[in-house]
């Protein structure tokens, strides 16, 4: 594995988004992974509709919350094509599901791989490099006050409550860390990113990690 790896360097990570006052992190995380995997496959990086997943993934509860694995399971089962964001823009509110024909442009999930990498974060680094950005769930209670730097304390595992996108890692310095894109806008954290120490399953970053196959 390379000592550091960042999918942003390959221009396959979309800009940081802002979920606003809507519990849609699970949809941002899944759609972020889809967008990047699609671009890694050779397509142009295109932002896809988070609102479509929010409205239509009936196994979840829209702005009231949801799970990345349930959203991926729904996307895989239904083979729904997620349309470009411009055609189904984000409203930060749960709405009525809009249907598109299968001939409509969009990206469908063929499969996904989900694992608990606790105690195996090096293997998780391998998955990130091999598969693309990873949808992960974390305990983000202490993130209310986060300004920047590498989180090494005050973060539990196995009490996950937030979904994010892991886009890279860096093991070059004294403290190896994951590079994580959040969906709280660019005014939060380091331009919308948070760094989490690798090893010890800090914030439960390795508890439930999914890669998308398109």
């Amino acid at each position: 594995l390379p000592a550091k790896f960042d999918w942003r360097d390959k221009a396959v990570v979309a800009p940081v988004q802002n979920q606003e006052a809507c519990g849609s992190c699970w949809a941002f995380s899944v759609v972020g992974a889809m967008q990047s995997t699609h671009a890694i496959g050779g397509s142009q990086l295109e932002q896809l509709s988070v609102q479509q997943v929010l409205d239509c993934s009936y196994k979840n509860e829209g702005c009231s919350g949801g799970s990345t694995l349930r959203a991926l399971s729904w996307l895989k089962q239904t083979r729904v094509k997620v349309v470009p964001r411009s055609e189904y823009p984000y409203k930060a509110k749960t709405g009525i599901c809009h249907f598109f024909s299968q001939s409509h442009d969009g990206v469908a999930v063929k499969n996904f791989i989900a694992h608990d990498f606790s105690g195996r974060e090096e293997a998780m680094m391998g998955q990130l490099v091999e598969r693309g950005p990873l949808a992960a769930i974390v305990d983000a209670v202490s993130w209310q006050d986060y300004l920047g730097g590498i989180i090494q304390h005050h973060c539990s595992s196995q009490w996950s409550n937030h979904a994010v996108l892991v886009v890279g890692y860096n093991t070059m310095g004294d403290v190896p860390y994951w590079i994580v894109q959040n969906s709280w806008g660019t005014t939060w954290g380091d331009e919308g990113y948070v760094y989490i120490k690798i090893g010890g399953n800090i914030c439960g970053i390795a508890d439930s990690v999914a890669a998308v196959l398109l």
Partner: protein, 81 residues
Amino acid sequence: SFREQFHRRYEVNSEEFTRRHLYFQNATERHAYLNSLSAGPQSAKYGINRFSDLSQKEFRDLYLRASADRAPLFSGLKTEG
């Protein structure tokens, strides 16, 4: 200055101002605690941001809405599917 920076509209001395002020004070106490374990230039820093006038419950209720479905333990490179 917090209200100005983060475009808060509640009036000084209103009921909401009093409540938000209390949450803000609680946040600064949290920051002191969270920063107390920070050592080294790379350590995480905690401080005032746009969530500082939310109670911890409000923050959880608004932003921490993901539920966790357990995934199988990773046991090697041939376990996909």
